[in-house]
Amino acid sequence: MDFGTALLAVIVVVGVPAITVLYALGTERVLQLIPERRRAGLRPWLWLLPGFAFLIVFLVYPTVQTIVLSLLDRRSESFVGADNYIELFGQGSFWQTIGNTVLWLVFFTGITLVFGLLIAVLTDRVRYETAVKALIFIPMAVSFVAAGVIWNFMYAFNEQIGTVNAATVALGGEPQAWLFEWPRNTFMLIIVGIWMWVGFAMVILSAGLKGISAELLEAARIDGATEVQVFTRIILPLLAPTIAVVGTTIVIVALKTFDIVYVMTGGQYDTQVIGTLFYQERFANHDAGTAAAVAVLLLLTIIPVMILNIRRSQAQEATR
């Protein structure tokens, strides 16, 4: 890093707020120049302009362009129609990738939710709640790359070094190469994801839990309901909308999975998922067409969640 870069960064950090303030004052000055009845009509567009410029250049246009690229050849030179897709669908390795993504979707999402809910419910009953929650939440602050190193170390084959194998041997088992054999390796990677994301599920579910009236739960208990009944008949139904929100967020994380697989196995030993297959096709196979086709398929799988989110946000608007 040279002096020029440092200067640039300082300019950006000081300059950006300055520019935005000037922009806001500038828009007001510009609006003074036009007739008053038109001002209210023009003002919102000036406030939206910077944000939408970024959204269009870095999200809307690239997404549309990715769809176009998926219909072109590996060098994006000539139109090949659906060939990239047909080629993908014909590869056994592609279905392996889809299979792994489904494993991630089902087990990562399911177990993260169950653990998040379990820990939220359990911690709700003890005085040291905050301490346990902070501890469970720590992995959320760490990068997937660091988590990859942490868990590679946990899974190390040598039982003198790897914690998981040390535990296995202590329990009378043989040390295992956890990341080499499918489908076990995918489950081992999913464990890393769960370790990182349970904190997220726990925090939101715990907040939802606090929203359930204590009087209601106590009334049920006084009426003779067991703790299990209180949980299944009252807490679970009342918490269902929150569980759905957490679930959709985690589904998206599952579909987009990239870092854990990239760092821990590089997609080898049949651990590839859609998120890494895209990278593999573009930067290892140098096939922009197929990479774009993979990205489009990923986008398609996310569209149901997108529609669900839009419906929810509209319902939220209606109650505003």
Partner: protein, 294 residues
Amino acid sequence: MTMRMSAEEAAPEPLERRWWSRIPLHAALVIISLIWLVPTVALLVSSFRPASDVNTSGWWTAFQLPFGFTVDNYGDVLSNNNLGQSFLNSLFITIPATVIPVMVAAFAAYAFAWMDFPGRHVLFVLVVALLVVPLQSALIPVLQLTTAVGLTGSFPAVWLAHTGFGLPFAIFLLRNFFGALPKEMFESAYLDGASPTTAFFRLVLPLSVPAIASLVIFQFMWVWNDLLVALILVGGFPKVAPLTVTIANMVGTLGQNWHLLTAAAFVSMVLPLIVFFSLQRYFVRGILGGSIKG
């Protein structure tokens, strides 16, 4: 009033009477906490052990006398593996990539929350839709774009891309917060002759400090911990590459040198952990405010 009184009196009673029945609960929580903590502790302990120890014995043996802890691994990775440079790069990437989107998003969020214009509803639906668009679906054309303008391999490429990618969440979060401010406040400000710009700087921003703090922490963590965007836009440029990219490469090249890998990973975790522990409240609030409620 009587209801509340009776609930308060009734609540602690069954708990205190059957304290022994709560032992499984405490045991379960202790076990879960240990399982969650062990991987991080293993990393931290190993990063302070000499290479010969780390690669021949388990981290759990480190607590036997005589202690042999050292900081050599840190000195080694910071100077020999380009990690010091990468740490600075991560800072240089993260700070502007946090400042720019937060400012830009605040503008758009204000317009969405407190201005009337045709298409407001449709445009906000677009923002919500973009919230879940995977980076993978945008990155190839973004790379073409930055290459076309000569920015690939430079800090501004990552700043701009992260701004674009972080905006939907930032606009969404701030809009929800701004929208919850009381309407009467704006009405009386306008009656006093304030312009929307004045209201934004004098009322909305100061009152939204908690929401903005949440967002800043979120975006900071997100960019600091990002691998994919950095890998694609500056991955081949060690002078610009952030910690995540450098460490991902070290995993490939250093393989079983656990004393170095653990130290490197911890270097990348220090700042997020400090931010997390000192500003946990805002972080959690951001998570709660950013989810689309059912």
